[in-house]
Amino acid sequence: MTVEELKQYDGRNNAKAYVAYKNVVYDVTQSPLWQQGEHQGAHNAGIDLTSELLGAPHGEEVFKKFPVVGTLEEASQKKEEHSSSELLKTHLRLLYKKYHPHPMTVHFPIALHLFAAGFDILFLAEKKDAYAIGVFYSFLVATVMGFVAMVPGMLSWWINYNLSTHYAFVVKLIVAAITLVLGVIGIGIYLENPNIVYDYSFLGVTYHAIVLLTGLNVIILGYYGGKISWGNLGEEKMQTVSFDTNETDVMMAEGKFHDVDYEAPIGFSTPTSSVKAELSAKHGVEETHHVSISILIGGAAGLGIDTLEKILSDAFKESGYYVFSTKEFMSRVRGGSNTTLLRVADFPLQAPCWEVDVAIALDALALEHMKHRYKKDTVIFGDESFNEKGSDMIAVEMKESAKKFGDARYANTYMAGLLFGVLKMDKTALMQSIEHHFKGEGANKDVAESGYETGTDIAIPSLPQLPRLDNDAIKKLHLMDGTTACGFGFLAGGCNMITAYPMSPSTGVLNFMASMSKEFDIALEQSEDEIASLMMTLGGWYGGARAMTSTSGGGFALMGEALSLSGMTETPAVIYLAQRPGPATGLPTRSEQGDLNLALYSGHGPFPRVVLAPGSLEECIDCGYLAFELADRYQIPVIVLSDQYLADSIFMIADVDFSAYEEHRYIAKSTKEYERYADAHSGISPRAVPGLGEGLICAVGDEHDERGQITEDYEMREQMVSKRARKAALLTQEALAPTCKGKGEIAVIGWGSSKGAIAEALERLDDKRLSHVHFAWVHPLSPEQLSVLDGYKYKIVVENNADAAFADQLKLHDIHVDDKILQSNGFSFFADQLTNMIEKSLKELS
């Protein structure tokens, strides 16, 4: 860059502000000290400041913080010259450091003002001319020197103290300004009429008052100057912000957060009641025909299957149908072969099915991938170019039509239209959905229209006929995936901090919380690893946050030691653990309930914990909320177990009344005598946070005494072990009871995400002998609640894993399990397949 070019960057009128120093061009646009390209009214941007810097109170170090944008060409020719001036500058800076000009100059006005004031007192006592003249001249010189001292003083304030607004500086500035103004006035009065000093007129009195007052002022100035320089009070004090604990008291009184009576009887009001009603036929017409249609859309990643899923599910919902969708995809960003299953029905749907009524192939590979899921009358649509000779595929002009409208990517919208046409649906809802998703962009609506026209001409009598529903109640339902519902649960639980490392299938929750972080003032940081995730979360709780982390099995395994720390230090933690099949990296994008044992046993040494496993959107919200309330109240880690299937599947949910999710803060205000691990009857010691109250909070991972001091005293050890164990006992009493549906004597028992599939399988079987028992609270199990199971003659446990970990838990509680239905192929249960499996199991039992 040349000097001429540099001139354009003067920072004015929104131009960038560049300055050059020693051949290097720096961008100072962002600096508050270079507003409008001007620096301290002394320097302008757009020029070479090398020589000007010689006179500046700071050295070249100030440029280090600015981004370098180039070099100054002409400057290089003056290299010689600069190096000598550079030497001079360094020299000056050292001198500046050595003989600080402010203290050097400031002592004169201080001394002279004091001198003047002293002499004035003498004069007032004994009116001698010599005194009066002495007073005036010392006052005059003091005032002049005052201006001299003020300049390096201001510079020092700027270079050494960063224009600090600490009160010491503010007082100094104000007093100095007053002193200077008074000085000028005093000099004026005297020069106007020197005899005024003998006169007790207004001006005479003012003159003496000024002289005496400035004497006082310099004492104040000296005092604060001293404080700043040698300062126990000035800059050298840690900038501790004092807490307005009064404000906190008010908040406590208002119930914003609670100083909790930990000895109070337990019992959570389980918020499930806030879900106005579980999805049931109530939301539809009373008599449903129980017609459903399942549509499988297949294609490579990047072909817009997700868009198609969204457009269609919204469109079917707005047409007044129940919808459900789920996806299975390969662990790759592009290519491969993925499918999305969309089910539409006149009754509530909560699970996928394996066999499909309609298959839509967006590419040829999808035909191969989907064929296992065809039944004999599955209707298959694909592009004419897929060239499936001899197959049952109905060839349509998908690609041609998309191209006709100018973009091959329109293929998915074309197929959406086609499907609506084939199903003889009213197209209004589809058009609205397309409008909504694409915001009117491109030719999407026209493409869909053309697909629709083609579709209406295709008649397929074998397809299930959806009754015309147009049910307004259904239109009011909300469509979301398990990730989002968990996210809402965590929000309702007051989550205000999240630290996590991305890992499928848990990342959705991190994304959700990030998307909410501005709105809800959530502290969020992506950690360097999962150990850090949980350690930050624990630090967060220790510091007073409601913090959580999200991860999957591999990451959770890394958290083991920190989980144990949560147990020992009794620091709450909420961990969202979205399972995928292991061991190791396993099947990164697929589903399994394989980490129950990991959740139950990870971390060394026994300590109480809670494991929750939601099986529906309603339970996702409840568990998310409960996790925070439980963690806070019991000072324990709470793990919310989800999995890829639940996280990524889209269900419907009725209105939820969030006002029922009242947030309780179990934070005590500490007194001077506060002890973090005070032995309490309940085992729960009041948890205080640093800065709130007068006490000190000592939380430790070594075994400790009540103060939180390391101990190896065996009696204290026993006392603490017992304290922690008492919390575990209380937790059992908090357990949410399993939900039991049906009156049959054979219990089909499941936990977590299998809820919907089991429910539908039992509906399909329509066998009076069967009941569905579902656990969303999987640990610690309450023996009292488990006794319900004694009432069943046979117990079949259904688990989406190979180790039957939950059945083992039941066995630990002496519950006999008659049969286990297990699946660990990477898919969650399909309602139709599960129906067959249960049927088979029933045959074996009888």
Binding site: E236, H478, L491, A532, L565
Partner: protein
């Protein structure tokens, strides 16, 4: 010097003559002289001999796991930016087990003081090599002497653009105190690596050795010069002591970056009405 920050009734677990005593004294003096409010201050430490320090200082403390003080300290700052937070531990704790956290805490510019007692050995586990052990240092495990390149915390911190990078020696306590004070006053992440003789397990790097192999940086040394600092970080035998590098405007800290308000999270709560509204938009 009063005993404002002395913790009562503690059983100090260090060997007589250990450098940790000097560091403990230093910490307490600095806290007192800077008039730090004890209930607004937290010392977070990991595990090791050095990490026991906060048990003897009368402030808030969070004693965590070996290597994990830094992420815990980060979490505390995220939860309540108004607290003064110190992360303290040994060379094994901070540079070995917690090495990854060290890197990323510097990058985040968390506003904490990071105090590392560098005795070039694992004290608590009785004398194995630490990441900073010098080549040739023989132990029961490193029977042929250490062959790995010693970890250079200063150079690492500098390479990550830490705003405050310093090294001191407890064999020169007065000097160390000034530097530690400056670290407390620095806005942003501040590293203080303290040479600390372990009289029991490190017979090589003794008080004498540290005195003979270090020198205090001259007054004329310009600590704002990044390139000079890089040079100093690699200077060996003698090794420089002092503020190797300080950038007084090291930019926004993590806490300032992640949330607009610095309000302690213990007293923020969500507006359920807003959650309701958002939920209904689905």
């Amino acid at each position: 010097m009063s005993h404002l920050f002395d913790r009562e009734n503690v059983d100090v677990a260090w060997c007589p003559g250990c450098g940790n005593f000097g560091i403990l004294k230093l910490i307490k003096e600095v806290l007192e002289e800077l008039q730090v409010e004890k209930n607004n201050t937290v010392i977070v430490s990991g595990i090791g001999q050095a990490a026991k320090t906060p048990y003897y200082v009368d402030t808030n403390m969070f004693g965590v796991l070996h290597g994990r003080a830094l992420p815990a300290a980060t979490g505390i700052k995220m939860a309540n930016p108004q607290l003064n937070v110190v992360a303290e531990g040994g060379d094994g704790d901070m540079y070995g087990e917690g090495g990854n956290h060290f890197i990323h805490t510097v990058r985040r510019n968390v506003n904490i003081v990071h105090v590392v007692h560098n005795n070039m050995v694992y004290g608590l586990t009785k004398g194995q090599a630490s990441p900073t052990s010098q080549k040739g240092f023989e132990t029961k495990v490193q029977v042929n002497g250490v062959t790995n390149e010693p970890f250079n915390p200063l150079a690492v911190a500098l390479s990550l653009r830490a705003g405050f990078v310093s090294r001191v020696s407890i064999a020169n306590a007065e000097h160390a105190k000034e530097v530690l004070k400056a670290a407390f006053l620095h806005h942003g992440y501040a590293l203080v690596d303290i040479f600390q003789p372990c009289v029991t397990f490190n017979k090589t790097n003794t008080y004498h050795w540290f005195r003979d192999n270090t020198y205090a940086l001259e007054d004329s040394y310009d600590s704002s010069d990044f390139n000079a600092a890089l040079g100093k970080a690699f200077e060996m035998m003698p090794m420089p002591l002092g503020v190797i590098y300080q950038n007084k405007n090291s930019g926004a800290t993590l806490e300032e970056n992640i949330r607009k308000s610095g309000e302690p999270l213990y007293r923020t709560s969500h507006d359920l009405g807003k959650i309701q509204e958002l939920f209904e938009s689905y």
